[in-house]
Each structure stands twice: as structure tokens, then as C-alpha cells.
């Protein structure tokens, strides 16, 4: 059981995420570079903004090089929003740049025919079972994005905005959330709790009944 490492690279809203982890009773630490990461436990890659700018910032801090190695060693990594997109193979937002390739597929622009950015609450449905994540049963989660990862048959949760896209994607020890769980009310907290507990984060405080 370890603290959650939050990658701090000026492209994420860490205050909200930290608030959510506090409410779940999980310990966490910020890490601007891989040297500052906790010795074990999940690494969270948050992110808002532009794909290429975020990638540049991650490169400057050494994370872009380090992440594939950490994943190969078995460290669990969770990307949120743009974080998920950076973990994919690439994005139409930055055709010249490639992604980390830790999740399969390409990120494509939403639309046409729907309002972009997709901003607001949408329902997710389970598409493929995952050991950590229960059937969301039509839970509403909060999304803010203009690009989305194409779903595959193994995408865990799918949402729709004009077309279906990957809301939760997972491969081995790598997971990505397109919605913002820290902004998604109780349903979002549950998603964070399930995934981070599975990834080995310090357990929630004992007041939470274990059933």
C-alpha cells in the first residue's frame, strides 16, 4: 500500500483531484519529476489543455521517457482526461506528435453534428468487464473534451457524444478515464476509489464500511 503519485506538470487541476483523494482517505504526493514519485503505488497523470503542450511539458520533466519503463516494471498508471489521451498511440489534435502508446488506439476529434467541446454530464455503460470496476449502471460522469479515444471491443466503459467513445480504457496496469472523476459527484469518487484501491493505493479510512 503506497501513496498516490500525482504528476505535477502545470497541465492539470490538482487541487480538485487532491480534494477527492482526501475525501477517499488516500494519501498522495505531487511529483514534478520521476525522482519525486512515491516508491510504489499508482501514478496519476492528470491533464487539461493541448496534447502537444502537455507532451512537451512532460518531456521537460523527464516523465515522457520514464513512464513506459515504470509501466514495464509493473507500476500502475492512471491517466485522466488529457492524461488518457496522452497514454494512447496518438491524437488528431497533434498529428505530428505521437502518444505514449500504453493504451491502444488513436484519439479523434468529436463531431460533426454535436456540440464540441463535449461539456457536461453523460452516462457511461460497461462494455467489457474489468476486475476493479463494477457495472456503472448508467452512472453520470462529468466530461470536458473535444477529442476522444476510439473504443475497441475491450474498452471497459463507453460513453456517447455523437458516436461512442472510450470513457474508461484499461490494458494491464494502465488505465485511462476520459471523464473527470474528481468532478463527477459520488459516482466519480466511487470510480476513483475502485481503480486506485486496485492499483494498490493506501486503503480508505476505516469509517467506510467494508462490504
Amino acid at each position: 500500500m503506497s501513496a498516490v503519485t500525482l504528476i505535477d506538470y502545470d497541465a492539470g487541476n490538482l487541487a480538485s483531484l487532491e480534494g477527492a483523494l482526501d475525501r477517499l482517505g488516500l494519501s498522495f504526493q505531487r511529483a514534478a519529476t520521476p525522482d519525486e514519485a512515491a516508491p510504489g503505488g499508482p501514478i496519476v497523470l492528470p491533464g487539461v489543455g493541448h496534447f502537444e503542450a502537455a507532451q512537451k511539458s512532460l518531456r521537460e520533466r523527464g516523465w515522457w521517457r520514464a513512464l513506459p519503463g515504470l509501466v514495464a516494471e509493473g507500476r500502475p498508471v492512471l491517466g485522466i482526461c488529457l492524461g488518457l489521451q496522452l497514454l494512447a498511440e496518438g491524437s488528431e489534435e497533434a498529428p505530428r506528435a505521437s502518444g505514449l502508446g500504453l493504451l491502444p488506439g488513436i484519439v479523434r476529434r468529436l463531431g460533426p453534428g454535436v456540440k464540441v467541446p463535449h461539456m457536461g454530464w453523460s452516462q457511461v455503460r460497461r462494455n467489457y468487464p474489468h476486475p476493479a470496476l463494477a457495472d456503472p449502471q448508467g452512472a453520470w460522469l462529468y466530461f470536458v473534451h473535444s477529442y476522444a479515444l476510439e473504443p475497441t471491443g475491450e474498452t471497459v466503459y463507453v460513453a456517447e457524444h455523437g458516436r461512442p467513445f472510450a470513457a474508461v480504457e484499461a490494458r494491464g496496469n494502465v488505465m485511462g478515464f476520459q471523464p473527470h472523476p474528481e468532478k463527477s459527484g459520488p459516482a466519480g469518487l466511487l470510480l476513483l476509489q475502485q481503480s486506485l484501491a486496485w492499483m494498490g493505493a493506501s486503503a480508505p479510512v476505516p469509517e467506510v464500511p467494508c462490504n
Partner: protein, 250 residues
């Protein structure tokens, strides 16, 4: 299509939520965090904070409460009031706001909208537009809290804002604001053709007004007094909208 959103709007002055008629006789409603928690628990989909006395001097106070709200709230929130530069917006977003709202500053210097969109992405940029209807000229943009009518055609301005990079429009009918007689539905209908989300504001008095605004094409509805005074509790409103076949988060 995402769920239709219900958004309470809170006026903040010097770090306290206040309520008052035309900004006179302000009544203290409490700390932003206390109201944020209450609305979060009631099922609000988002919150909007408007700093009605924003100034350079109180920037520190504002950053402090924005940071606290960000840690406590499990839903998104927008902060507006006196945002006139990328630096102003950065201070709010760094403190944990999800979006910033700009109004007069964008009307006076439209390039601000593009600068904000380039710096933070258009999803962070809410442009508040106050509209007043002129008998001869139709809907016009009004500035300074709706007190200063301009010649600018409201609908043209909305499309221009979309082109500039606005991520969302908060549209307030100054003719309806405070009347409780319902939203300006023809205005909403026209504005809902925009390719970005539309938040309707001004005129809500009863449940049915919210339903009408959403049916006329608004993506979200915003109100203040009705919610603050407990006249229309949010769970009741959302249950009503759901009964009327609107997609809402319950």
C-alpha cells in the same frame, strides 16, 4: 447528448456569499465553501461564482476561497468577476476553478477570448453576455451588469464569440432578470443554434420556466434567488425535469 444542467449562481463579495437587490443592502449568506457543499449535496450539476467586488487588492482572498472550494466540491465550478487578462484567468484556474467567466472585458476587447482559449483551451472559457431588447433594433448587448446598453446586435456577437474561441455562453436576458416571469424563450431558441453549449439565465420563477428554457434549446439553466431562498429546491426541480422526459443527472 449530455444531461441538461442546473446551475446555482452565487455572488461573492470579499470572500463571502452575499445576496441583495441590485447590489444594495447586501445580506451575508455564508462562506463560499459552505454553500458549495450544500449545493453539491443537493445535486447541482455545476456552480457559478461571480465576484461582484473583484479588485487587485482582494485577489489573495479570492484565490484562497477558490482553492478551498476546489478541494471541497465534487462538481465543476466557474468563477467570474473582473477577469480581464490571461493572468487573471490563470490565477483562478491555478487555484482550482474549472472555468473562468468573462463579460465586459471581452466586449471591450474581443481578442481576450482568443487569448484565453489559446492559453487554457476553449472549454475553460465561459463568456457571459447580458442582453436587452430594443424595440427598434432587437436584442442588443448590454454591459456593466446590464446597465449600459450598446448598439451591438446580440446574436451576431454570440457567433463572433464562438469564432473567437468561447467554450460556452452564459446568456442573461436583462429584460427578464429578476422578474420571475420566465426566460426569454425566443432569444434562447435563436441562440441555441450555436455550436457551443448555452446556459440560459434571467427570469426563472417556477419549475416550468426551467423546462421551457431547456426545451427551447438551452443546455443548462442558471438561477440564484430561487435556489438560495429555498423557494425551489434543486432535487425537486430535477425530479420535475426528469418527469417531463428531460435527461438530467439524478
Amino acid at each position: 447528448m449530455p444531461a441538461k444542467r442546473v446551475i446555482p449562481c452565487l455572488d461573492v463579495k470579499n470572500g463571502r456569499v452575499v445576496k441583495g437587490v441590485q447590489f444594495k443592502h447586501l445580506r451575508d449568506l455564508g462562506h463560499p465553501v459552505d454553500l458549495a457543499r450544500r449545493y453539491d449535496a443537493e445535486g447541482a450539476d455545476e456552480l457559478a461564482f461571480l465576484d461582484i467586488a473583484a479588485s487587485l487588492e482582494n485577489r489573495g482572498t479570492r484565490e484562497a476561497w477558490v482553492r478551498e472550494v476546489a478541494r471541497e466540491l465534487s462538481i465543476p465550478f466557474t468563477v467570474g468577476g473582473g477577469v480581464s487578462s490571461v493572468a487573471d484567468a490563470r490565477s483562478l484556474l491555478r487555484s482550482g476553478a474549472d472555468k473562468v467567466a468573462v463579460n465586459t472585458a471581452a466586449a471591450l476587447r474581443p481578442a481576450l477570448v482568443s487569448e484565453l482559449a489559446d492559453a487554457f483551451g476553449r472549454q475553460c472559457v465561459v463568456v457571459a453576455v447580458d442582453v436587452k431588447r430594443d424595440e427598434a433594433l432587437g436584442w442588443r448587448v448590454a454591459l456593466k451588469g446590464g446597465t449600459e446598453p450598446t448598439e451591438r446586435a446580440a446574436l451576431d456577437w454570440l457567433w463572433e464569440l464562438n469564432d473567437l474561441g468561447a467554450g460556452e455562453i452564459l446568456l442573461t436576458s436583462m429584460d427578464r432578470d429578476g422578474t420571475g416571469e420566465g426566460f426569454d424563450l425566443p432569444l434562447i431558441e435563436k441562440a441555441s443554434g450555436l455550436p457551443i453549449p448555452l446556459i440560459a439565465s434571467g427570469g426563472a420563477g417556477r419549475e416550468i420556466h426551467f423546462l421551457e428554457a431547456l426545451e427551447y434549446g438551452a443546455d443548462a439553466v442558471l438561477a440564484a434567488t430561487l435556489f438560495h431562498e429555498g423557494i425551489l429546491p434543486i432535487p425537486q426541480l430535477k425530479a420535475y425535469l426528469a418527469q417531463n422526459d428531460l435527461s438530467v443527472r439524478i
